[in-house]
């Protein structure tokens, strides 16, 4: 993909449902890189959660406020920045605990950040950029992640990984 535009940007209104646009775009980009179906699904879930977090917690579902999603495609990885106009995540977030939720000691909700961190290879919250507050997610193409008969980029990545 030398000399090509590698970053795709989307602008989404802060309204539930539009996170699916970002999910589908991220999934398509992941297929281009060569990720197999399972990793594509991981990415789709993580992107959806990050977008919903931005819409709900940063923008309070104000549809006039846009969430920017930037997908940067590399030969062996994909970086996804989800940008909002909020103040960022709290420094300390309670780890979800299903036993405590079932006991009524924690809200049933609150899985979004857990899923993002569990499904992505690298996650950084509260990255500051000129566009706003960024949740940055990176998914890397490891040999076991490559789709059967995967894309050209995947083949190159596999070769370089030996």
């Amino acid at each position: 993909m030398e000399d090509e535009v590698r970053t795709i940007r989307l602008q989404l209104p802060s309204r539930l449902g539009y996170e699916r646009v970002a999910m589908d775009a991220a999934g398509a980009a992941a297929k281009l890189v060569g990720f197999h179906r399972g990793r594509v699904e991981d990415l789709r879930t993580a992107v959806a959660e990050a977008c919903v977090n931005a819409m709900e917690h940063a923008h309070r579902f104000n549809a006039a406020m846009t969430v920017v999603v930037a997908l940067t495609i590399e030969d062996d990885s994909l970086q996804i920045d989800v940008v909002d106009q909020g103040e960022g995540m709290p420094e300390v977030v309670e780890t979800p605990d299903l036993a405590r939720k079932l006991a009524g000691e924690q809200e049933a909700r609150g899985w979004g950040m857990f899923l993002i961190k569990s499904l992505m290879d690298e996650v950084r919250f509260n990255v500051r950029s000129e566009l706003g507050n960024v949740t940055r997610m990176i998914i890397r193409l490891e040999p076991e992640d490559i789709a059967p008969g995967g894309a050209t980029a995947a083949s190159r990545a596999a070769a370089s990984l030996g």
Binding site: R20, G38, V52, L98, L102, A108, W111
Partner: protein
């Protein structure tokens, strides 16, 4: 996104088992529909419950919270709850959040019904 199909939750009974068939995505927008279906069978005194999802259903963290709410209510009512989740991805997600410790997860309704 108003054009999206609304999620429906229909209840079938097979012997002493109630099957809540979730036709659509499991997100916070589906909460009332799905929880209302569960309340109906709980009120009817059903103790064995299967919640069945479509293979292509989108489930987000808000949807997981719905399952947790049903598990809480079901436990209080003395129910055994089994999930039918054909998607390997969402089976993995359910495992990650720990749901397998509290509900059994099957790939098909026939498997969930077997020995229930």
């Amino acid at each position: 996104m108003e054009t999206r199909a609304k999620t429906r939750a229909q209840v079938r009974t097979l012997g002493g088992v109630a099957v809540i068939e979730v036709d659509g995505d499991l997100t916070p927008e589906a909460r009332e529909e799905v929880e209302a279906a569960h309340r109906r069978i709980t009120t009817a005194g059903v103790r064995k419950v299967i919640i069945s999802f479509r293979p292509d259903a989108y489930i987000n963290s808000g949807g997981i919270a719905i399952i947790i709410n049903i598990a809480i209510a079901g436990t209080r009512a003395g129910q055994t709850i089994r999930l039918v989740q054909p998607s390997e991805h969402f089976q993995k997600i359910f495992t990650m959040v720990g749901l397998r410790q509290y509900v059994e997860i099957f790939s098909s309704e026939a498997d969930a019904l077997a020995g229930f």
